[in-house]
């Protein structure tokens, strides 16, 4: 087996018993990137020199008895919205084309302290806003399952890198679904933690009230171990638990009654609910507060906050934005402060209802991730925004942790489910996701090979 395909646990075991070196593992990933990324465009910057330095240090530390934990010697990639000292961090924009931070973001520093090996910075929609764009000095990432289709975003490169086998784990950000929707479209695992579980220091903000930082990884265990390296979540502490007797609410009407829902998504979600039931969980369909209300509250808060974040650049260097991001940011001009206050009050009320009506009765909740498979690039013209339907935004508004897992395919493109937990219960949703993964084969599916490498 190519070392680049080893899980974090398996690679870690080999690093510790001497069957594999961190340098050898880093080289395997760098070779993968060189062979495949011309088709995927997952990376903005490949940090080969830094990766080999990190790997040499990881090997030296292990040989001298300094073990920094599960990510020691493991290659990782960071969304290019996350500051890395001495490494260009563009936020996917001409505004920051030559921006080289002097310090690491908190999450980058945690990964370095955990012994991880940085192989590069991954593509993001411009400032984590909208895409794909075709007027920027970056190629849009392509879906490894079918490169004629989008990855979704905004953590587009992080998801493409994992799906394409370039890394096992990466870091993304999520303000309205930007970890979960690309994870879903690319058939990998995304973990949006509880609000403020992971430090946002040194991550360029989109909407500080809604921004989350978390992993996109090849499996639930890989995601949980990555989250534990950048936080004190303890997400990997219950991965092997039996979930018999767990109560799981199924918010089926939330997506199944939508005219936008692909029938394949509804069928795959019903199959996933059945699989969890066969694992011993007790599944009960529930009615949820109006989805549109969550989206309305989130959108008003997001656009108002994003406008203020970008106010100076919009006034001083508007020509450096791509068209989609520029237009999107300016929509916030329509929002008045009292309307933002109203949105915050409604959001707080919805969070309270979710806490009482759902998590007062159930251990977790499941619902669809995106309502369709990834759209083709041909559906986007780079001038007009195209709405890609999903059910992710409510949990940025409420702050609950969500695990996104693959649940099957439609015409060769992945479909996904969200497992939502109580605030702070990343370990609970990861145990459910892990049981689901053991009971199904969705997470071990890999995209078609490109035919010119291993």
């Amino acid at each position: 087996m190519n070392p680049a395909d080893l899980s974090i646990r398996d690679a870690g075991a080999r690093l510790r018993d001497g069957r594999l070196s961190a340098v050898g593992l880093a080289e395997a990933h760098l070779e993968r990137i060189a062979a495949r990324d011309g088709a995927y465009h997952a990376f903005v910057t490949v940090t080969a020199e830094r990766a080999l330095e990190d790997a040499e240090r990881a090997d030296r530390d292990l040989s001298e008895g300094r073990d920094h934990g599960p990510l020691h010697g493991i290659p990782v990639a960071l969304k290019d919205l996350i500051d890395t000292a001495g490494i260009r961090t563009t936020s996917g924009s001409r505004q920051f084309l030559e921006h080289v931070p002097s310090t690491d973001a908190a999450v980058a520093a945690r990964l370095r302290a955990a012994g991880a090996v940085l192989v590069g910075k991954t593509m993001t929609y411009e400032f984590a806003l909208v895409g794909p764009s075709f007027d920027l000095p970056f190629e849009a990432s392509r879906n490894p399952w079918n490169t004629d289709h989008i990855t979704g975003g905004s953590s587009s490169g992080s998801a493409a890198a994992v799906a394409g086998g370039l890394v096992r784990t990466s870091i993304g950000t999520d303000t309205g679904g930007s970890i979960r929707s690309p994870a879903g479209y690319c058939g990998v695992v995304g973990l949006k933690p509880t609000y403020e579980r992971v430090s946002r220091a040194g991550v360029f903000p989109l909407s500080p009230s809604l921004d989350h930082v978390g992993p996109i990884s090849a499996s639930v265990a890989d995601a949980a171990l990555t989250l534990d390296a950048i936080s004190d979540a303890g997400a990997a502490t219950r991965l092997d638990e039996d979930i018999t007797g767990r109560t799981i609410a199924y918010a089926r009407a939330w997506f199944a009654t939508s005219s936008e829902a692909d029938p394949a998504v509804i069928a795959a979600m019903d199959d996933a609910a059945s699989a969890l039931s066969l694992c011993g969980a007790r599944i009960e369909e529930i009615d949820m507060p109006d989805y549109d209300l969550f989206e309305a509250a989130g959108a008003v808060i997001l656009q108002a906050e994003a406008l203020e974040v970008h106010r100076q650049m919009l006034a001083q260097s508007p020509e450096r934005y791509g068209r989609l991001a520029y237009q999107n940011l300016l929509t916030g001009l329509a929002i008045e402060p009292a309307e933002v206050d109203l949105a915050r009050r409604v959001a707080a009320d919805l969070a309270l209802r979710l806490r009482g009506e759902v998590f007062g009765r159930f251990d977790a909740m499941i619902t669809a991730n995106t309502l369709t498979p990834a759209l083709p690039f041909a559906a986007f013209d780079g001038v007009n925004s195209v709405w890609t339907h999903m059910r992710t935004f409510p949990f940025n508004v409420t702050g609950n942790p969500v695990l996104a897992v693959p649940i099957g395919f439609s015409n060769g493109l992945p479909l996904g489910m969200q497992i939502v937990g109580r605030e702070g219960d990343e370990a609970g949703i990861c145990s459910i996701g892990s049981a689901f993964e053991r009971a199904t084969d969705h997470s071990v599916q890999r995209p078609p090979r490109l035919g010119r490498d291993d």
């Binding site: 209300l293 959108a299 106010r311 508007p318 329509a334 309307e339 949105a343 007009n384 925004s385």
Partner: protein, 50 residues
């Protein structure tokens, strides 16, 4: 809010922030702004119907 009022409100908010909206961008901005105003209307309705 009607289209003309929305246009005036957006342009006034831009001017107050020192932002000049680029040629050709206004229709796209107004389309998104109108959707956001629909969101606000939903929030107001939910707030008053509690």
């Amino acid at each position: 809010m009607d289209e003309q009022s929305l246009r005036s409100a957006v342009l006034a908010a831009a001017k107050a922030r020192g932002i000049v909206i680029a040629d050709g961008a206004l229709p796209g901005v107004l389309k998104g702004a109108a959707w956001l105003k629909d969101c606000v209307a939903q929030l107001k309705q939910a707030s008053t119907s509690k």
